[in-house]
């Protein structure tokens, strides 16, 4: 009991500090689109397409095996759950590709200010690192993007804590791929 209490208290404190660190942007925005006319249920097997070779915008993240392996493992897990099958065959139905980007963003709270939702110090602009994780399903022959999903959220402090980073990756991948159309 006490351990459970400690744990939920911990969860609350961690949650609160996530919010703080993120400068109010702890939430994750997730979205996706599908190419018009594409029926994803016609695609079943996949393999990984060539990895990105460019910089993510953050040297801590470039060629970071720990980030890369976690993303791939999680994508494979979620794709399996959605009925996709990883194949080593030469001609998979889709190629999967992911892309990461980090950039510094300024939120000047223009809306809050104009609508008077905040006063004085609360209205101060804040600056944060925005991280984007994008997952593409690509048709191998045409290299056309059939489906694209992405998550955007504050990256501040996340990379500095491996365990936290892993849980954010898991959450992002699960929420992105949850937007895949139902196969049934």
């Amino acid at each position: 009991m006490s351990s459970r209490l400690t744990r939920s208290a911990a969860a609350i404190v961690v949650g609160a500090s996530l919010g703080l660190a993120a400068g109010c942007a702890a939430s994750m925005n997730v979205n996706s689109f599908i190419e018009r006319g594409v029926e994803l249920r016609e695609y079943r097997t996949y393999s990984w397409g060539p990895a990105d070779t460019g910089s993510t915008g953050d040297p801590r993240l470039d060629n970071n095996r720990f980030f890369d392996e976690r993303v791939r493992a999680q994508v494979e897990k979620e794709l399996a759950r959605h009925g996709f099958e990883k194949t080593a065959a030469r001609e998979p139905d889709v190629l999967v590709h992911y892309h990461t980007n980090v950039s510094q963003e300024i939120d000047v709270r223009e809306f809050d200010n104009s609508e008077s939702y905040c006063a004085d110090h609360d209205c101060r602009p804040f600056i944060y690192d925005k991280g984007t994780l994008l997952i593409d399903l690509i048709e191998p022959d045409t290299t056309k993007v059939l489906w694209r999903g992405w998550a955007e959220g504050s990256f501040d402090g996340m990379i500095d804590n491996q365990t936290w980073m892993e849980s954010r990756i898991d959450e992002a991948v699960a929420r992105i791929l949850a937007r895949l159309p139902d196969r049934l």
Partner: protein, 182 residues
Amino acid sequence: MKHLVLTTTVVLAVTAMASGCAPTMSVSSHVDRNLDFAQYRTFDWGPADALPTGDPRLDQDPFFKDHVQGAVERGLAGRGMELTSAGSPDLLIHYHANITERIDVNKADRVYGYCQGADCPPESIWYEAGTLVLDFMDAHTNKLIWRGWAQKSVEDMLRDKDKMADTIDRAVSEMLRQLPPR
């Protein structure tokens, strides 16, 4: 253990907040948790990979290079690891130095009129954020097994070799402190 994790998270979160505006150094690392680091006894300098991107102001500065390598070699020697330039080392180490222009939130406050007087730092709102990334590769599997990094505003040290030396020493020793125990 749980408390430890929690404390670390809170500290990091607070650090992240503070680092939005402060020129303090932030240091952290990623590690392959499934490895026994006692197996690594010898190391050598390996070729850097294409990424993370470096910065010519640092990479082509022989003082910087010598000082980083010296600091790492001393730090690892202090941990009982040996630099070997002949034979096959257990670890290949390389580093990347990167400088990015970043905006400072407190200074932006001043520009936009959100702070006054002593609260506002007098400088411009842009600063040069330097990142030093240190990679340890298993020489046999060629896999990254540990990565440490330090980040700090570097404007002062780009113009001052003594400051650069101090900053590198601090960055390297704090990074190496994050290595798993052997």
